[in-house]
Symmetry: C2
Subunit: 372 residues, 2 copies
């Protein structure tokens, strides 16, 4: 049986469930740390586990270029290579081909591009993307789509969405079902409700184990993103997980959970951690700030991660000022821990019918905090 999803409860539009996969269970809502090139930057696999993460993401674009899908396959797949026996979701590679590669050229069958690493030529089609993700041993495979740029005219958005729908069908045909594995479709349609509806209908006709909402977090802003979620999430079946790709800040996550999203991935917590920015129960801190030089308090007294439970803010400040690797390591750990705790709190309060109160309380603490 393919990957499945059990919905345990709802609170308004917010949902709490469990995804059952070949590599273990995933309680939702869930945040997936990004392990771009076969590693969550600055974290051992044990450290990722210690944050409470149950599923991580790998990037097909990066992995197909280096070390190469065939090589990962020969090494036993991504799980074994990374020491992450838990579930892994891989993206299709399409988004990063468009954002990172050189001299890319789209046609109706796929995209040809040059590696940003060494200029070598590669081609990605729906079939090749699915094949690569199979070789990586992705628990959750994503269809190859075109992430419609923002802004797009209605005509541009329709053309792009329809291309993605055709590629979704080809991706489905190429996918090899395996017990506890799954393939997710991706709803496109930019900010246009009728196009989102048409995209969802086309995907539902094909049938997937889960549905992603793509083409957001590309510059449209939080308000417009929420509007699109408000019209898109209700189009998706209740018994399948819903994944908002590339989102976002803790505030974004609370807003999207309230609108019925189950799954998230984003580089924000890891990238911010490497640049001294910490997401905490008291808001956002920049640990490079000189005001922390003598601050002997924990970064976040509500947090149990090693950065908060073992060290003072002054030490974290020192590590960043001295350019020590441990600064990015500890702050990445903290941010991922914070994201996991935020989602665990969301799940618990959804099940208790208290999610709105939870979100109000969390946001009030951010606002009251002495962040900066």
């Amino acid at each position: 049986m393919s990957l499945s999803f059990t919905l345990h409860g709802t609170d308004g539009a917010a949902r709490a469930g469990t995804m059952h996969t070949a590599h273990g269970a995933v309680p939702t809502p869930v945040f997936m740390p990004v392990g771009t090139a076969g590693t969550v930057k600055g974290m051992t696999a044990d450290a990722v586990r210690a944050t409470g993460a149950s599923v991580i993401l790998g990037n097909t674009y990066h992995l197909m270029l280096r070390p190469g899908a065939e090589r990962v396959h020969a090494l036993g797949g991504l799980h074994r290579m990374m020491d992450w026996p838990g579930p892994i979701l891989t993206d299709s590679g399409g988004f990063q081909v468009m954002s990172l590669s050189k001299l890319r050229k789209m046609d109706k069958d796929g995209v040809t591009f040059q590696s940003h690493i060494d200029g070598s030529r590669h081609r990605l089609t729906p079939e090749r993307s699915i094949d690569i993700q199979h070789k990586l041993d992705a628990t959750i495979t994503m269809v190859l789509d075109e992430c419609t740029p923002f802004p797009a005219t209605p005509d541009q958005a329709r053309d792009s969405m329809e291309l993605s729908s055709r590629w979704a069908a080809r991706s489905k045909a190429a996918f090899v079902p395996r017990d506890g594995y799954g393939l997710f479709g991706i709803v496109q349609g930019s900010v246009y409700p009728d196009l989102r509806k048409a995209s969802a209908d086309a995907l539902l006709d094909i049938g997937f184990e889960g549905y992603a909402i793509g083409g957001l977090a590309v510059g449209e802003g939080q308000e417009m993103m929420y509007q699109v979620l408000d019209v898109t999430a209700p189009l998706l079946p209740a018994d399948r997980p819903r994944y908002l790709m590339g989102v976002g800040t803790p505030d974004d996550l609370l807003g999207a959970v309230a609108r019925g999203v189950d799954m998230f991935d984003c580089v924000i917590p890891t990238r911010a951690g490497r640049t001294a920015r910490a997401y905490t129960s008291q808001g956002v801190f920049n640990l490079r700030n000189a005001r922390f030089a003598d601050d002997d308090r924990p970064l976040d007294p509500a947090c149990a991660c090693p950065a908060c439970s073992r060290h003072a803010r002054a030490y974290l400040h020192h590590l960043f000022r001295a350019g020590e690797m441990l600064g990015p390591m500890l702050l990445t750990w903290h941010n991922l821990h914070y994201y996991q705790a935020l989602m665990a709190g969301a799940r618990a309060t959804i099940l208790a019918g208290q999610f709105d109160n939870y979100a109000v309380g969390v946001r009030a603490a951010w606002a009251a905090g002495e962040s900066g």
Copy 2:
């Protein structure tokens, strides 16, 4: 009672003992990972503990400049700041003033210098060095000395050694004895046996909890270093720990243990780990080498560290090629683990009267290995 040392057994000149300190016991022979600026580069404190390390080293020069001795003191000392409740040895700062600072000027009372970080002016005297180390809460404090450059004429070496002897007496006078804490003297005298003897006699007259052998690993080469150890170690009391500063490779450690040294520190395992060089039971590997790209074997099958027990050589190679932080993190971990295992093996075989066989076997495995 000050820090003390129990000698459990000898095998030839090699010694196995235990150092008893305010912050725990240290089985010897022991390798101390270097935590220059309040962190062993690329390692959490938990990771350092997991390698089997029982004592670490901090650098007074770096810490006095950043974050500053008074600040470390206000944060509860180096142990608390770093989350390392175990023993910490700090050097005097003198060596790095001479190698790193700008516009340094020696006089008979101390050295005035400019910070390599911001050009600020500082002064280090025996009294100030001891005071800083006290503020850092060093378990083992080192006297301020002059590390005699190599080569040095006999006259230069004598003048330098005699300056160090006077500073050793002043360091002793400034040191505040505390239960389980100790002050170590440093034998100088370059490569001249009569000067080493004069230095050791002067230090023994003053009296210290341990004795370091300084002025080695400064370009004289392994053979000459061993010659100096052969004449210097027997000058030191059997009931005090002997510390060879700044040494060395695994081979250096075996050779020095055989000559009666108990303690070592060196940046080699951490620095090498950051640059893809691994010390293993089969010799030295450079993980950047293309021959590892498809190598699915563990780095060192005899090693239980996460790099070796969880990953393939091909993955480590990939991490370094991709510039991922996890490469330096895992290889630092491995190298420190290897150094600890090497010293644990030395201790066990000394106690069993088999140290020579152990050293022969370890070196034979290095030579037989397919390192490169």
